[in-house]
Symmetry: C3
């Protein structure tokens, strides 16, 4: 199925970026594999734990963990080769973000009639992997400070809810069509955000003392 | 119901304090909203996940998330106005602490006949939001070093267990009476702790090398 | 039962080492107790939450928490006495690692026919307590950088899976025998790793800019 194939590409890309982050902190192979797994599957795990959606994806499919571990170890052998494809990475990461968001939206949509949990599920799945990666590297998560990222998940999640709602109430749309539409729009929106350095406004607060 | 109204005041105050913390680290609006949500509802979420108590409050009631998000965004518009009411904040935070602790105690009381989980539930609900806020800002949690805070939750949780036990074995007390008694004592105890800078003893250990 | 007794020794040793870590950051008694609990029972809690294995051990047996709290407070009274027995600690910690790994393998073995979750369960239970301890002290987890540690859990978990598989398919082995074999090998392997400073290769990556 399309979503599964893209999901595998997504976790591979996320795993590699996690491995590079671990390498920046001189971690050993366990650290590299751990950070890679957390980056790739941490978002989905947090979502499933918060939603009580058991079993977790990687518990039912440990082969996904193997893929991430392999990608991580491979990255330690050819880090500069991997890093040279920075642009390719950004593209793969954008695709991963869109895929993770759609998957999160699908898991969350049945939890609340308003569709709010589809949006929350999209955001958690999309960004929490990167947040955990940074926490385990003891630094403030990048996603709180850089270009539009969580906003893309929010967009994808909202779009998914709207499509499902239209499909249920007005004219039935094919599930795959909805998925492809949400994926494409999220993917393009992320690339546009990177290209034009679009970001949310920043909040700077210095306590007067 | 009383507890629900106070809960909403509590998460609003916690959300605003979380937003200020995010502003101290120059986060963007997503970071602000994320830190605000984690501060306001993180404690209850951790409690529910550890206790297997599904669905989580904000999954069943996404409107609570909306309130926190609104409070956070509002704080970014008027940070110095919000910060000027520091004393009001401390009072609202004290109330939030008492409310969160009572709610945590109620969730935990049925999990173990000894009532131990009511006490643990009170402490987790009361302090974990602040702990997560600090972790996501990459600093050592304040609650490990300042005035009595977790101890207030411990007090509230223990008091709740004792009242429930008396109510079940000796003379029946009205649930609302128990709640109000626990709330008031926790609230006053926290204010006294702030006023007189009461804190737990500190443990300082420097490895000899 | 053997495993329970060793488990209690394990959480006591982990709780004491957590308390010393808290003391290095001048935490108050709540911080000390919190870090001690997280170090001692955090690994098992994360495993159970990820596996949906409820109730958590300490929810069903709050007495374990009491033991850890007592060990933590005791450590604050006699830190240098405790620290002087550094070698004893390393031995107890090695034993704790082996015990936690075996327990984790047993919890995970039924989740996936391949036995992969037994290995993952062993690693999570063995190392996540230390990872959480370091995260709550706002530093990069030690386990990503020092001697073989997670690898020992991996070894113990794999060994357990192999023994169970042989036992189920070829000739039945006594459960206690399997446990003792896995424990002993893990324990000895960890001591050998410490003695000879065996570690995994490190991955160092410096972005070219």
């Amino acid at each position: 199925m399309l979503l599964t194939s893209l999901y595998i590409v997504g976790i591979t890309a996320e795993g590699m970026s996690g491995a590079l982050a671990a390498g920046r902190h001189n971690m050993d192979w366990f650290g590299v594999v751990f950070i890679a797994c957390v980056t790739a599957i941490g978002g989905g795990s947090i979502r499933d734990v918060l939603f009580g959606h058991y079993p977790l994806t990687w518990v039912a499919h440990p082969e996904y963990l193997l893929i991430v571990c392999f990608a991580a170890i491979l990255t330690t052998r050819i880090p500069y080769f991997v890093a040279r494809f920075e642009r390719t990475f950004l593209v793969l990461d954008a695709m991963g973000l869109a895929v993770f968001s759609v998957i999160g939206a699908r898991v969350g949509i049945d939890l609340h009639p308003s569709g709010a949990m589809a949006v929350i599920g999209a955001v958690i799945t999309g960004v929490f992997g990167g947040i955990l990666r940074d926490i385990f590297c003891a630094r403030i998560p990048l996603v709180f400070q850089k270009e539009l990222y969580a906003s893309i998940s929010l967009l994808v999640g909202s779009l998914y809810v709207v499509c499902e709602w239209i499909s249920a109430n007005y004219f039935a749309m094919n599930q795959n069509l909805i998925i492809i539409a949400c994926l494409s729009i999220g993917f393009v929106a992320r690339l546009v955000a990177i290209r034009y350095h679009l970001g949310l406004p920043t909040f700077k607060y210095t306590p007067k003392s």
